[in-house]
Symmetry: D2
Subunit: 321 residues, 4 copies
């Protein structure tokens, strides 16, 4: 089987590194170009030292355009400028991991497979969702689609430190973050915009508030979501509804047991659990922010767009412990 | 100055150990009796090895009643039976750290100093509040007292592992808890009862729901609370109200800067921060669950009941980092 | 391609779970039997909840013997009794992860691929090495084989909590282990025996002491080794010797950059770095205790014994961060 | 009682902050000046937010010299220049926490109380020891003083992240350091110089090598030391020797039970445990790098130099859990 040719722009960062880890083991892809201005000339395992023995690729600042797929793993706000400066062939699939095209501008399709699968399968330009956005949308989408959200949605999310990227600041300093907890961007996280867009697409009359409290957790990987909203049916109905909504999905699973974050760390899974308490449907959900919340979902989108097996390259061993 | 004689029943557990750590350095107390059936005959530093060099006290299963103050640090449900079997002199101050008397039965006073200070000052029997209960009450009390809570209260709390005590189970196993997150007792935490009792005491018409999502955090000490509720005044009003409410308090501080959990770990402080967002007053608060949420508050209650300086024995160096 | 039939005895523990995670994704194997007395009747994902969506296998206490390979993941000391009670066909490959047969009794071959590859390729019974033993042997084997260890070997090792298995005790309690460090089995770790056997096999005159200080680390997965010994050649010679020794190895890599533990976590790699300081060759090495130090190495041994591609089922994405 | 006037130069860093935490609760001191160029004009609790409610001191870039004691908590190499530019009265006690005067140049006395107590008691200028140096010296001093170290000393040390200070780099980035282990400055740590000077002072013929492997640990506070060396007496002799050596010491305790790091975290203690194995005396020791290894020891030195009670201001509650 011939493999398609893949490249990563911004391959030195966290999501770029995760893309490389996934693509190096993808049965249908050959990673041929890793772009980084800052790491130019270095071998891939000098920057991502866990990749020693896996690849001798060298970072370049040359932009290869002769690719079947290019992943843009640039800082938010830089993808648009990059695509203005660099032209890819029409048939090249472009998957952008930043916020730049999540409004589906310029023919981009919002790449949340559980919601937009058929559109992704024919897309050439895919805007990969945000990590919190992925988890929150999957936690509430079935209920929104069935118009069973009977009031405002209250959400807490806790993210690992990798969500903040490689940058160094007070909140990524080990001494500060270790054994610590804090909140940020209260009710005002930038992902709320893309979440709302999806929910309105599922229910054009959706007008509920989403009150979202994001926490900085003292762990490296993973996102936990607890979402609840007034709900007037039984728990059995809720499970039936969620199971039906996700029954064809390869990575999103509904669990009738209580869940914990480490069930999903280092995998492309989203696991969801439901409870019905005091008139509220309480949904807990967990993903790995860098895999299902970023690079794994991007590979999933590639698989869909190319007609590969949906799980190709994504049979990932969880960290488990 | 003569020191009063203090004893601890259940001195082998986490809160019992913390009481010993505090009382050994208290200027007005002499810890003379540490009771434990399981550790009987051992030196205190065999069970609490950090106390090497500080004390040679020996655990006993004999119940000394010739004490000025006794702290009951027994498992929930065992204090009542203990006090039925053992009689203390009328003038002995009894401070119970369990849930058994938080309903103020049998002449116990609910020992939350910021709310009940004058009653504690004349009490002989004090029921020490729960850890989550302490933080949640302090986070919302001023607004409740001013009848400015204009809707239901949504609360998330994250607790360190010490909140679960010494018992070993899946959720206190290092391999399971490390780098992990999960929820428990959703909307149904046992502390809601004592919280409601206080809030009704502050506003007899208080009838709002408290929807409380408790998280298990992957750290040892500390409790973080985020509480929000509809609120119709300005943020300045809120700060003025909270500052006025706590202005005489030695341990509860209102911060106009964002806070983080480690500001309070290993201290008796509660630090509170306010934001006014989308019509909600959002209150974040942090305490150390074992100090302000248990043993430190118990010593504070002792200080009040004995007329000692309020901060005696509680000038604690925070862990800071 | 037909797949071979695999079973796991003791599939509920940590190494049993890791075997399941690996075998479920192995291209040449079908996991058909997971044995556990304690979990009998449960689905695999009730015990290993990260496997939801991956398999509906059910634990059984029936011992299937119609297997191409069986992995014994029993507590140390129980494999021997198990094999006395249960007879497998002669052609079934038996891979034991306990200490029971690491002395190569009863025709078992010591399954350290970097040293014993040709013997493993023709073996039917394989004794999988211990985790510390794996790392220490790989760290010193080239120098021992070349008789360049000119004095005693000083080793420190730090292990994650998973090394202690599922059992609950003081040292696996989160509150105790979190942010803590301690040593155990000083100079007396049970793996020293198998290490010595290998080193004597590499150099029949090897008589140096190995002084090994094992640490309990406050992390879940991974083993770090620092080993040093008097050495009279140049660093360049040392690198050449180690690189030559491991040049054919799929999983053991020599790095000329300083290493860190997380380079290998959740992979089957061993990464080794060398320094020559004050007349000592200082070797640092890292493995994942549950993968390269247990279940991954067991699968590697299976691959060798069956003639599969050496890396089959072992292209694992590292945790990286 | 009148209190002496204390100041801190470099009060914004980790050790400067710890000094402030200690001095604010010191019964004989009043902290009147906190110097920092970078934080000038800020309140102390804006930079050290755990100090909210404890002090309203304001950082200044003015150098007060009218002090009874000044602590220099500057980066290594900057104390010397500072003292050239700023003149303190002859009677002001100067305690420098940097490496600059640990060679006892310019009349400084090396401030390790367990070794140099009588000299410290009459000193005006005190060079506070390094953190690793403190722990290693206390671990081996009795045996060196008795000339019972019969061969080279092998040492591993593991330090918390606070040892690296506030600076941000790869090794203080949470995502990198969390759940990770690495070594640095192998056999070449800068503290070896001051350690050797002390050991030669204890035994002028001391010529053994100290082979020191320093580890970066994934925790915030604390230093663990394992040191061993050939030794020809019994374990009982060793315990007697260590106990006798430290019997007058307020903070250094010999434990006949195995120890763990958290016994000392947030205290000024050093706890030492001994084993006699394979002809080696194995010493494990633990300190808090910022307290006993820096600011607490500096306060201890102040107490000695001023004739205060040795433990004044240093009755610290350990973190315990």
């Amino acid at each position: 089987m011939t493999k398609i040719k893949a490249g990563i722009i911004g391959a030195a960062g966290y999501t770029g590194g995760e893309l490389a880890r996934l693509l190096l083991n993808h049965p249908n892809c050959e990673l041929i170009s890793i772009h980084s201005n800052s790491q130019k000339g270095k071998k891939i395992y000098e920057t991502h030292p866990d990749l020693i023995g896996d690849s001798d690729l060298i970072f370049t600042d040359h932009v290869h355009t002769d690719l079947d797929v290019v992943f843009l793993a640039l800082p938010h706000g830089e993808a648009k400028g990059f695509l203005e400066r660099h032209q890819y062939p029409k048939e090249t699939i472009i998957i952008d991991l930043s916020t730049d095209y999540r409004d589906e501008s310029e023919d981009f399709v919002y790449g949340l497979p559980e919601i937009n699968k058929s559109r992704i399968m024919t897309a050439k330009k895919i805007a990969n969702p945000g990590c919190f956005a992925t988890a929150i949308q999957l936690a509430v989408a079935p209920a929104v689609a069935h118009r069973l959200v009977a009031g405002d949605i209250h959400v807490t999310g806790i993210t690992g430190s990798t969500g903040a990227g490689k940058q160094m600041n007070e909140f990524t300093h080990f001494t500060q973050r270790n054994q610590n907890i804090s909140v940020y961007k209260l009710f005002n996280h930038q992902h709320l915009k893309e979440i709302n867009a999806t929910l309105v697409a599922l229910d054009k009359d959706f007008k509920k508030e989403i009150l979202f409290v994001p926490y900085r957790g003292n762990f490296s990987r993973g996102i936990w979501i607890t979402a609840y909203f007034p709900y007037n049916r039984t728990l059995e109905d809720a499970y039936a509804m969620y199971r039906e909504f996700y029954q064809e999905e390869a990575f999103t699973h509904v669990s009738d047991k209580e869940i914990s974050l480490k069930q999903v760390v280092n995998t492309n899974k989203c696991i969801i659990h439901l409870q019905n308490l005091q008139g509220q449907l309480v949904v807990t959900a967990a993903i790995d922010n860098l895999v299902k919340g970023a690079s794994g979902q991007a590979v999933h989108n590639l698989n869909l767009a190319m007609g590969f097996e949906e799980t190709a390259g994504l049979h990932l061993k969880s960290i488990a412990f």
